[in-house]
Amino acid sequence: MNAIETIGLSKAYADRGGLGRLGGRRRQPILALDDMTLTVRPGEIFGFLGPNGSGKTTCIRLLLGFLHPTGGSARVLGLDTGTDSVAIRGRVGYLPGGIALYDAMTGRDLLDYLARLYGRPPALRSRLLDGLELAARDLARPVRDYSRGMRQKVGIIQALQHDPEVAILDEPSEGLDPLMQRAFYEILDERRSAGRTVFFSSHILSEVERVCDRVAIIRRGRLVALEEIGVLLARRRRAVEMRVDGAPPVLAGIPGVSGVVVADGRVRCQLEGDVRPFLAAIARSPVTDLTIEPARLEEAFLELYEDDVEP
């Protein structure tokens, strides 16, 4: 059984229904999510990547039953999101993007209250408080006095404190400083070690690269890539530069090599996929220096989004 499974999941926002029409103008339907099919395996950390407005949050809200799909279906832990959303939410922890909290409550009262609504003890709370360096005196203060980072920490704790089988986190590291981001990544690693599943959206490529097993990239509501991180990186074009002391190697026709430029004893090119044909091609050449830039998810992402990147 997959932790999360969507089949042709689609969502078009139509005009407002019922009396809500009085509260705003009628809108043209907008296709926010289009035919999304993906699976998240149990025990993996799955990154859901895309720029703002690409449909990440819509997909998450469909998984939790906040939105109703206009096409396709989704299952979480084998349960249908349309008919079993209450049961799903009992087994899932959720961190909304830019979480809003009850400002008048203290941090402790808020966490206690939200745990009570789950009906399960907050078994992981103390570990999370330690990991995110949230002290008892911080929890005694009203939430309205919290900084953005502290609010985010409370948001992460409320999502994970009851040890959910699946954590769905929308932009979880937003507002955390680099040290706390690292602490958060350790928490995610612990979740994976405990066999729990984490599905999180992000536009911070380095954190996806750092913690995820697999990544889905979404663009304008459509899934454009779903890969193991390693496979995705291996497919990226890496910049290669070498110095030669004599005739440059013949790189035309070598699989994965493109954009070859030779000038002033330097050879520049781009390399994609398996490096062995390239290494074989230069093996007998008088190469004095060789640099192959490591593949970065950022480049993979930008390649998939190059149409959207403004000059």
Binding site: G20, H68, P96, I99, Y113, Y118
Partner: protein, 270 residues
């Protein structure tokens, strides 16, 4: 209904409830006091016949007056001051409970728990009724305290007084049910509040004008307030139709809310 959510709701609104209850208790206390102190003088004025038309008009709206204790009690429930005070809870709370939480973004934190939307809705409705019951009980307590302290309690009929209170609870619970149904339909607090307040104001104005202006009389049955006539109840002329109409509207509003709320898309707050 969720007990944890209900307790948290009541705890969060306790100071507002206390303030409204104190205001209503004070208001309820004052009216028998005014009646006991000045009622006889007013009665003499009424019986002198000089201002007969004026007094008839003044007492036409729900039988409210300070010339009799029953009239004072009726005024204690129908005057704009107690209505505005109860509306803080009967309208303000339900509109904030769904549309307000939706606008702030806290509704999705709540609904991320294993709570069905119908359960959240039913809890908000129960909290609305609880607020109305307590607030109007304070009003009633004020009336009784004023009547006892100023030695006019023997003019009160306890069973009828309780019936007035129950009818008032039903009236404001109905307003609360309508407010909650509107709240479930809107994504933002202000338009929902504006709509319900406008509706309540027009409803009140229709009943008030209908009692003073014969041409408007035919419109009175369209007002919620037409179905709450405390002076008639205190005189022993309670109409069960009033309670049936209000209960019917409440049930319809609750059914609409329970139907629409789970079907709505709760997109990310803007």
């Amino acid at each position: 209904m969720s007990a944890a959510l209900f307790r948290r709701t009541v705890a969060a609104g306790r100071w507002r409830l206390l303030a409204v209850a104190a205001g209503l208790a004070t208001w309820g206390f004052l009216l028998p006091v005014i009646y006991a102190t000045f009622g006889a003088d007013f009665r003499q004025l009424v019986e002198s016949g000089y201002f007969a038309d004026l007094f008839d008009a003044f007492t036409a709206f729900g039988g409210g007056s300070v010339f009799t204790l029953d009239g004072s009690v009726a005024l204690g429930f129908l005057h704009p001051i107690p209505i505005a005070l109860v509306a803080v809870l009967a309208i303000g709370y339900p509109v904030a409970a769904l549309a307000g939480e939706r606008q702030r973004g806290t509704l999705e934190v709540l609904l991320a728990r294993p709570l069905s939307r119908r359960r959240v809705y039913a809890t908000a409705m129960a909290a609305t009724i609880a607020y109305v019951v307590v607030a109007l009980a304070a009003n009633l307590a004020g009336v009784v305290a004023g009547a006892v302290l100023f030695d006019v309690a023997d003019e009160l009929e306890p069973a009828r007084l309780l019936l007035v209170w129950a009818n008032a609870v039903l009236l404001f619970a109905t307003l609360g049910a309508v407010a909650l149904a509107v709240s479930a339909t809107f994504d933002r607090f202000e338009p929902a509040l504006g709509l319900v307040l406008g509706f309540a104001f027009v409803s009140y104005a229709v009943e008030l004008l209908g009692t003073l202006w014969p041409d408007m009389a035919a419109w009175r049955p369209w007002s919620f307030f037409h179905y709450f006539q405390p002076a008639e109840i205190l005189a022993g002329d309670a109409s069960p139709v009033d309670a049936v109409v209000l209960a019917g509207i409440s049930v319809a509003a609750v059914f609409y809310g329970l139907w629409i709320f789970p079907r709505r898309d709760l997109a990310a707050p803007s």
